[in-house]
């Protein structure tokens, strides 16, 4: 009997010990796990990120003009089916479409569906298609000296395809580009722009917020004044002013890097403010005083005590600011000031949907919107979950 209470007590003791010795990150993770919606958001996010990274494999065709289907422009989504009036098939199939123009159609191009047995196109898995490479980097900055290229690994297997012709499960746009391929590639692009933007914003915020928070005094006041001023200027109009710099002759990659950089420059003030606040509150904590009394150097205190105390908070802040980067990029590309073809992003894909023709006839142009709302929502849920988990008082509420 006494043995049992003893073990219970040890277990309790161990739990308490684990709790009190857990690092900031472990505590946040424990609280985060309890939040259902945030966990679901995290899974969705991971799936979306992976499908973005592996988009060349998951998508059947090249998202640029090279992968267009001349036979099927402005084509509706093709959903693979298992049976029709001609019978059942174990392999899913779609029909053949043919563009014809004759006296019957008043000499306008019309896409005709042929649903005979021999016109079935069977869906294949791990089909061979256009080659693509992984881990290939082609950096083409303005100026020859900065260009470099890392050849990656080349593959030509795609997750699915059809035995004859092409399949477009989300339909095609006006030039015949596959919307499914473009959507997944667009996720990759938006994530990349967001990552670079957040990274630049983070570095600037760390430098400026760090200086302000560590030195305090008049340096802090002056930097605060500048930060607040930058925060008052509406960023999108300002960005539009900056985007007008970009000459038309720049390559798509150069535009891409420029846009990410500008997004980063716009995003830093909020982050800098947070870092400064973290530093200011942590700097006056008793454990810092204790370390100082023990004779620790400033360098040691910053590295061993201050940085670990708020890295987890900074990560949370970065996750929260991520969707706003993605949204800004989308909005700017949408009005034609951000990225341009052949770089794909949601904004690029939505550039020409405001016409009544598209609104009335080609609603599948809006399918990527669902993906992006999901992406941003997943980020918001994860960000919110992380923020709640990082708040040490969230348990008491």
């Amino acid at each position: 009997m006494s043995d049992m209470t003893d073990t219970a007590a040890t277990v309790d003791q161990k739990q308490k010990e684990a709790y009190f010795t857990a690092s900031q990150g472990q505590l946040i993770w424990q609280r985060f796990k309890k939040n259902k919606s945030a966990l679901i958001g995290a899974w969705v996010l991971i799936i979306l990120i992976l499908s973005g990274i592996f988009s060349p494999f998951l998508t059947p065709y090249d998202p640029t003009i090279a992968g267009r289907n001349k036979e099927y422009m402005n084509g509706a989504p093709q959903v693979p089916i298992f049976w029709d009036e001609n019978g059942f098939s174990a392999r899913p199939f779609i029909y053949t479409y043919e563009r014809t123009r004759s006296i019957k159609t008043n000499f306008r191009w019309v896409t005709e569906e042929k649903n005979d047995l021999e016109d079935r196109r069977y869906v294949e898995f791990f089909a061979e298609g256009t080659p693509y490479t992984f881990l290939e980097f082609n950096v083409n900055l303005p100026g020859k000296a900065l260009d470099f290229r890392i050849p990656g690994f080349e593959f030509d297997t795609h997750l699915f395809g059809v035995d004859k012709g092409m399949i477009h499960i989300f339909g095609t746009d006006e030039t015949g580009k596959d919307i499914f391929s473009r959507t997944l590639t667009a996720i990759k692009t938006s994530m990349a722009v967001g990552t670079i933007g957040v990274f630049i914003a983070f570095v600037m915020a760390l430098a400026i917020g760090g200086i302000a928070g560590y030195y305090g005094g008049w340096i802090d006041s002056a930097l605060q004044m500048i930060t607040d001023t930058v925060r008052t200027i509406p960023s999108i109009p300002l960005f539009m002013a900056l985007a007008a710099f970009i000459p038309d002759t720049w390559s798509a990659e150069a535009r891409f890097f420029f846009i990410s950089m500008v997004l980063g420059f716009i995003g830093w003030p909020t982050l800098a403010r947070r870092i400064r606040t973290h530093l200011l509150t942590e700097r006056n904590q008793e454990y810092v005083l204790a370390a100082q009394l023990c004779g620790a150097s400033a360098k040691h205190i910053i590295r061993k005590h201050l940085l670990p105390s708020f890295t987890s908070y900074i990560i949370v802040d970065l996750v929260i600011s991520f969707p706003y980067m993605v949204l800004s990029e989308t909005a700017l590309s949408f009005i034609g000031l951000g990225l341009k073809d052949p770089v794909n992003s949601l904004g690029v894909m939505l550039q020409n949907v405001t016409s009544a023709d598209v609104l009335l006839n080609y609603q599948w142009y809006f399918i990527p919107v669902i993906f992006f709302i999901t992406l941003v929502l997943a980020f918001v849920f994860v960000g919110d979950g992380l923020r709640d988990a990082a708040d040490p008082y969230s348990d008491s509420k």
């Binding site: 000459p247 609104l359 918001v380 509420k397």
Partner: protein
Amino acid sequence: MLQFTKFVIIRAALAVMTLVLVSFIVFSLMELVPGDCAERYLAFKNSQGSVISLADIDAERIRLGLDQPYIKRWGLWIINAFQGEFGDSCIQRLNISQLLGQKFWLSLGICLSSLVLAYVIAIPVGIIAATSKNAFLNNSLRLVSYMGLALPNFLLALMIMLFSTIVFHDSLTGLFSKEFRDAAWSYDKAMDFLGHVWLPIFILGWSATAFAIQTVRALMSDEVGKLYVTAAEARGVSGRRLLMRYPARHALSPIINSLGFDLNRIFNELPIVALILTLTEAGSLLIQALARSNDQQLAGAIIFMLTASIVTLNFLTDVVLALTDPRVRRSIVG
């Protein structure tokens, strides 16, 4: 009272200082745009068929005062800007204040209305969300405010256009019907205007409302749990009276404080929504100025005016707060 006057004076000086700093940033950025006003105008004339020489460009530069040193031109620009005078636009050669005039006030009015709309909805809804124990209500409110974050305004505008084109065969664009576009203001025109303007106000207010609900809810649920509320409850105050007199009053001041940043957020959405709904106000004028013609003089003026209205709003909210809260007064005056 003396303390209050002192507060207003110091706060006004700070606001002016901020504006000077803003003008410096905006002016420098506009200077960085490749090519200057003289080149741009003469390039435009060249495209119209006149032959332009280098001497013409230099003469035009001197006429516009572009040969003066940078700081001097900035000084002139800022002094004129504070008098509401921004010179001529680079390409159109029209006075900017005339060009913007009504359009700017119209768009500012639209933005402020959507801000008001956002808080008219958010304050009661946020208070209910913070105090009610109804799980279904809370969850659906959370979902709505998440949608406000995830569905950006321009997508919402597109969705509404898609819906109204399919259902009503009218894409709901513009601020005026065709027959009123150039007419003078009259009762009919005002009615027509009100019939159109609700849509941009609603769309701009959409994500502002979502943000505002989240803020109000967070602030209220912080305050509701505090001891002074329990103490008031113990004294027998209850129901709406309790909420309005105790926690709501405390939660209000951070909200008033953040109004300026809410306006900033709405300004960010304005040009894009304006482009989709083809409104002819400052937002889309900005797009024209930047994307179509690279008119830096016009663009600088618009950005400066937008920022000036945010700074003014920040100043006004601080004054209102200082009137009601002695702690705010003491924070600057000391």
